[in-house]
C-alpha cells in the first residue's frame, strides 16, 4: 500500500503536528537566503529549492550554542548549565544529502563521550526527506555513493508525484511511521506515479581518490600546494557543509557575567591550530586544505567507516573562488599513477 500526501493536505498535517507539540522546520527563503526555519503553514516553505544555502545541520549543531552561564562574585562562582529546549521537531523537506550528513556526524558526536547537545536534538526530531527531481552543476551525491533517493539519515522519504500534486510517503523508521500515522486521516491511497529522479552524474571516482589519499607519499605531494593556491582561507565551505563539525569554545561576557559558548570553527582558518607559542602545525593554506580533504576522505573513514561528505556540493556552489571538493577530487582522480 502506498500512501500519498497531497500538497493541499500539508497544512492539515502541519496543524496536527504542531498541536502534538512539534515545531515544523522547513526550507524557507528569506532575505535572499534559504535556511531551515520554523513554519506555520505550507506556503511558508520553499520546497522548490534544489538546496537551501544553509544545511539542516544548523538546527542540530547551531553556529553558536550557549553552554554554561556563569556569574562571578567576590567569593563565589555560580554556574548554570544551558541545555537545548525539549521541543520536538519535524524537519520537513530535507534533501537526502543533508539528511545523510546528520547520520555521518552521529558517530563523531557519540564516540566515547556523548555530546548531549547534538543527541538531545537528534532524539527529538523526525527527518522527513524529499527525493530530488532536480539537480544542478554542483550536486555530487552519486560520486560519494549516495543518491537523490538515498534514505541515509531519513525517518520518512517523500517522493514527488509526477503530476506535482503531492508526494508518495515511504516511512523508514518507527519514528517516521509514528509521525505519519498521526496524520493518516490526511493521507490518501490513490495510485499515482512518482516523478523521475534527478540525474546526477558521477563526477569523480571516490575509490581512486581514497586509495591515493591513503598512500603515505600523497601527504607531502606538490599537488596540495598547486590546488590550494587560490584558496583565500575563508570558512564558507566548512560552515555550509552538512558534515563539518569543528568548533571552538569561547567565554563571552563582561567581568562578572557571561556565557561559555560552543561556536563553529573552521580548519581553513590559520588560527584554528595556532599554538600560543606561535607554532602552527598547519601554517599554510595548502596544509589546511589538505587537512580538510584528508579528514573527509581518509581520517574520518578510518575512525568511523564512512566518508565525511554527503555530496551536496555547497562547498563549490558557494565558494568565492570556485574551489571545492569536486574539483579537488576530480584532480586527484586525474593524477598520473
Amino acid at each position: 500500500m502506498t500512501r500519498i500526501l497531497l500538497k493541499n493536505k500539508l497544512d492539515d498535517c502541519i496543524v496536527t503536528w504542531r498541536n502534538a507539540g512539534y515545531s515544523v522546520l522547513a526550507p524557507v527563503k528569506r532575505n535572499e537566503m534559504g535556511s531551515f526555519s520554523e513554519v506555520q503553514k505550507a506556503s511558508d516553505m520553499s520546497l522548490d529549492l534544489i538546496l537551501p544555502e544553509r544545511t539542516i545541520k544548523d538546527r542540530f549543531f547551531p553556529q553558536t550554542e550557549p553552554m554554561i552561564r556563569y556569574k562571578i562574585s567576590k567569593q563565589q562562582i555560580d554556574t548554570e548549565t544551558m541545555t537545548p529546549p525539549d521541543t520536538k521537531s519535524v524537519c520537513f523537506g530535507v534533501r537526502p544529502c543533508d539528511a545523510a550528513g546528520l547520520e555521518i556526524d552521529d558517530p563523531l558526536f557519540g564516540w566515547d563521550y556523548k555530546d548531549q547537545y547534538w543527541f538531545k536534538r537528534r532524539n527529538n526530531s523526525v527527518i522527513v526527506t524529499i527525493t530530488c527531481t532536480a539537480s544542478d552543476d554542483f550536486c555530487m551525491c552519486t560520486s560519494v555513493k549516495l543518491s537523490p533517493e538515498s534514505t541515509k539519515g531519513s525517518d520518512v522519504m517523500l517522493r514527488p508525484l509526477s503530476n506535482g500534486n503531492g508526494w508518495q510517503v515511504e516511512t523508514i523508521t518507527e519514528r517516521g511511521k509514528a509521525l505519519f500515522d498521526s496524520v493518516s486521516v490526511h493521507l490518501s491511497d490513490e495510485k499515482a506515479e512518482t516523478a523521475a529522479l534527478a540525474q546526477v552524474p558521477v563526477r569523480f571516482n571516490v575509490e581512486q581518490v581514497m586509495e591515493w589519499l591513503a598512500n603515505p607519499t600523497s601527504f607531502e605531494s606538490q599537488f596540495w600546494k598547486d590546488i590550494a593556491l587560490r584558496c583565500i582561507g575563508c570558512g564558507s565551505c566548512t560552515f555550509l557543509c552538512p558534515t563539518c563539525h569543528c568548533f571552538d569554545i569561547q567565554d563571552e561576557g563582561d567581568t562578572y557575567n557571561g556565557i561559555r559558548r560552543k561556536n563553529w570553527d573552521s580548519c581553513s582558518f590559520a588560527n584554528f591550530t595556532m599554538h600560543t607559542s606561535g607554532h602552527n602545525p598547519r601554517n599554510t593554506q595548502s596544509t589546511r586544505w589538505r587537512q580538510r580533504i584528508m579528514h573527509k576522505f581518509n581520517y574520518y573513514r578510518g575512525k568511523f567507516g564512512v566518508n565525511s561528505c554527503s555530496g551536496c556540493g555547497r562547498c563549490t556552489r558557494q565558494c568565492p573562488v570556485d574551489m571545492g571538493i569536486t574539483e579537488t577530487l576530480q584532480a586527484i582522480s586525474n593524477l598520473p599513477r
Partner: protein, 276 residues
Amino acid sequence: MGIQEQYRSEAASLLSSGEVKLVIGFGAGSTADRRRPLFARTGEEANRFVLDASCIANLSTYLLTEGLLSDGKKVGIFLKPDGIRSINILIAEAQLKPDQVVILGYAIENGQLTALEGRSVADFNGVNEKIRSLALPPAVQQDIERLEAMSPVERFQFWQDQFSKCIKCYACRQACPMCYCRRCIVDVNQPQWVNTSSHTLGNFEWNIVRAFHLAGRCAACGACDRACPVNIPLRLINARMGREVREAFDYFAGESTDQKPVLASFSKDDPETFIL
C-alpha cells in the same frame, strides 16, 4: 586578435622572458558562466587564460599572499579598473611595491571588453580622472537611497535581518584586497573587542567594525558582496562609506599611489557641523 589571445600571448612572453615569475589571471570555471583564478608560471600555462565579460573578480587580493612578493620578483596580474584602484590603495598604504606588479588591464562595458593602455602601475596614474568618474552601479545607488529614506528604526531592522544571517565565515574579509592584516581585530583576544560568536550582536559588531576599517579604503570591487555565502548586501554599506569620504573630504580612494589614507590624515578645515 581578440583581447583574450592578445593577453595570453603577452602573459606567455612575460613569463618566458623571465620578466615576471607568475601571472595571475582567470581560467575556465566549474560551470560555463564561472571563471576561476588561474596562476600561470610558464608560457604554456598562459594559454589556459580566459578573458571575457565573466571575469569580474578582483584578483589583487592574491598579491598579498604571504611570501608571494618577498623575493622581490615581479608578478603579472589581470585587473579591471577597480583592481587598479585596489593596487593604488595598497601601494599608498605601503603594502606593495609598484615595481613588482605588471598590470594586464581591461575594462568591461556593456559586456564588451577593452584592453587598457599601460603595463606598469605608473602608467595608470594618468587615468585617475577615469577612475574618479567610475560611478556606482544604479542598482546600488537606488538601494542606498531606499535605505536612507527609511526611519532609523526601520534601517536598524533591515540590517538586523541581514546581519542575523551572518555565520562569521569571514569570506568578506578573506576576499577583500584591503583586509590584509595578519592579525584581524576579531582574532585579538586580549581584550576581546569583537565577540567571536555569530549571534546577531556579534555579527553587528563585526560588520560595523569591518565597514569602518574599510571606510575610505574600499575600491568598490564588490568582492565581499559576491563572496558572502548568505547574501548580505555588503556593497551597500561600503559604497555608502565611500560616498561619505568623497562628500566630506573630497577623497576618492585609489585614484593615485601617493594619496594619504583618508583616516590617517586631516585638514584643519575639515567639516565639523555636527560637533557641538
